[in-house]
Symmetry: C2
């Protein structure tokens, strides 16, 4: 044990959103840092992740998604940081860990819930993005829920986003013949093709179905769904017989319940014997080692590009989250809470 910190800044849930979340649902407060108990680490957080799944955890109505937040308590989420005090000889002060207590500048972490990360294997932001839960979600969704097969034509929605940009790149490297992504606006759509190697990028603000027909005239085999709504319906019509849908997120549908298209479009699933598979990444930890070995090799070989939109300062974390919900980010949305080298 070396350094100790008396107080730290953190973000708490001020109130539950009534519909769309806003800045009023968050508070930035300063609170005491508890004493370390045996088995704990004090971590100076360097980057924290801003995730779409936070949205469901802020509400009360969706009961099945991990643990919901409590009003008045700090939020949490993935973070990487430097160990500045340790009760365990095996975890050196100065080493880096990934853990679940983001949304605060310093965290007291049970060592059992922290994973060592090596900044010489990949940059610290990558451990939260393409090598973290984000990349793992893409990998699990493609290989397990979506049962990606060599030669598939794959369509990814929200493809300029964190999970989507990983899913599209991974799909190609895992054997897809053709990879199509959708994103909001012509700039993001071009980015998919020019920077991430997609075969086609569709601006979903234009006619999505027409764009999909043009990009995949023979149809698609696998739809990696990050948004639900009109995207899901367009994909149901574009899917070939025995096609698959990996249901990951549904951001848009959580936002626009009233304007959601009809569930009757699922008749396509009967007509074409589609498989629609919901998945939650934490069910698939058995795949984690394979994922890290595979993707860190791709990173080293320059075969995948890691993208992030990085805000700075814990006071800007709520805005970073709200901006991500409306598509303000490209790639992984992160907040930098302190310098990489203190």
């Amino acid at each position: 044990m070396t350094s100790s910190v008396a107080k730290t800044r953190m973000v708490t849930l001020a109130s539950r959103p009534d519909g769309e979340p806003g800045p009023e649902n968050f508070d930035v407060v300063t609170a005491p840092v508890p004493e370390l108990r045996d088995g704990q680490l004090l971590v100076r957080n360097i980057y924290m992740s801003v995730d779409p799944a936070m949205r469901g955890r802020m509400e009360t109505t969706e009961k099945h998604y991990t643990t919901n937040f409590t009003v008045g308590d700090p939020l949490d989420g993935s973070a990487v940081g430097e160990v500045i005090a340790s009760t365990l000889p095996a975890v050196a002060v100065g080493s880096h860990v990934r853990h679940r207590l983001g949304w605060r500048e310093h965290a007291v972490v049970d060592a059992a819930t922290a994973t060592p990360v090596d900044p010489s294997t990949a940059a610290l932001p990558d451990w939260l993005g393409i090598l973290g839960q984000t990349g793992f979600t893409a990998y699990v969704g493609l290989t397990r829920a979506g049962r990606l097969a060599k030669g598939d034509t794959v369509f990814v929605s929200a493809a300029a986003g964190a999970v989507g940009s990983a899913a599209g790149q991974f799909a190609r490297l895992l054997g897809a013949d053709r990879v199509i992504g959708s994103a909001g606006g012509p700039k993001k759509a071009r980015f998919l093709v020019d920077e991430l190697g997609f075969d086609a990028g569709i601006d979903y603000r234009d006619d999505l179905s027409a764009g999909l027909d043009a990009a995949a005239p023979a149809g698609i085999d696998l739809y990696f769904d990050n948004v639900g709504g009109e995207h899901l319906v367009a994909a149901l019509y574009a899917l070939r017989e025995r096609g698959r849908v990996a249901l990951c997120g549904m951001i848009s549908d959580m936002r626009d319940r009233d304007s959601s298209p009809a569930i009757s479009h699922l008749i396509q699933a009967t007509l074409k014997r589609l498989t629609i598979q919901g998945f939650i990444v934490r069910d698939h930890e058995d795949l984690r080692a394979e994922f890290e070995a595979t993707v860190s090799a791709w990173l080293r070989e320059g075969k995948v590009r890691s993208q992030a939109t990085v805000s700075t300062g814990i006071e800007n974390a709520p805005d970073a989250f709200l901006s991500m919900l409306t598509g303000g980010n490209v790639g992984k949305a992160l907040v930098q809470l302190s310098e990489e080298s203190a």
Copy 2:
């Protein structure tokens, strides 16, 4: 070859339905019976099947469902009848066959597309119902698409219908712990429990979700979907984690596209890692022999009840079909076209 018939009555597609089908979409016409060619049989049809899938085949918009009907041509569908002329020594005059050329009183059938049926194993109507495509659909949906497991709680919609009444009974015999069905009206709901051995029957005209909660307070594992719409949504909320949906029909959704609930309810599939599987029975012919052996044994042992609503006379076939679409039948809807013993 013995008997020959010059002319026969048949039902043709007069026009495609614009929305709900009606009597105006059908014609009953008298047409010449062609001469038998080598390999053909002349069959006096005794029973013909009236199937929900006909509806999609009458429209032009749903392209993926087998072959659509042509305006002016006779309809077709499953039938059983007596061979009254045969070009093949292996198929005796006086024997019975099941084939695909219903909707006519006499059919010239390629022997390769006909299956012998034995009226001493099961009654002729059963060969079109619980031992026919109807029962096979229930069996495939439960075992393949729904991956029924021992101890499951199973919910079947349209459970007083042909496929539903078979699915509920089969589910129990295949190892389900608890079987719940929905049907239109208190009489049909009671019939499920009193006559078919369901654990609970829900009148869906009451509050469907409340009924499902009461009948399965701990949730369901498998939903066998015959109707889509509000039933599908209620089931999505009632399903347990890793639950399964076998998508069979969606009659109600084909009828009420405008009032269909929102596809955003599929967020439940992500939250609970559900699998939603469309299926088409003709993909699963490898299961046919197992199915016939299993279900004919259950019939012999009195373990399953075969239900049918039988109309009489080809002129009443369109009405039998239209009535089935609005729930006028209990069990399999059939039309008797001639006497069992001529």
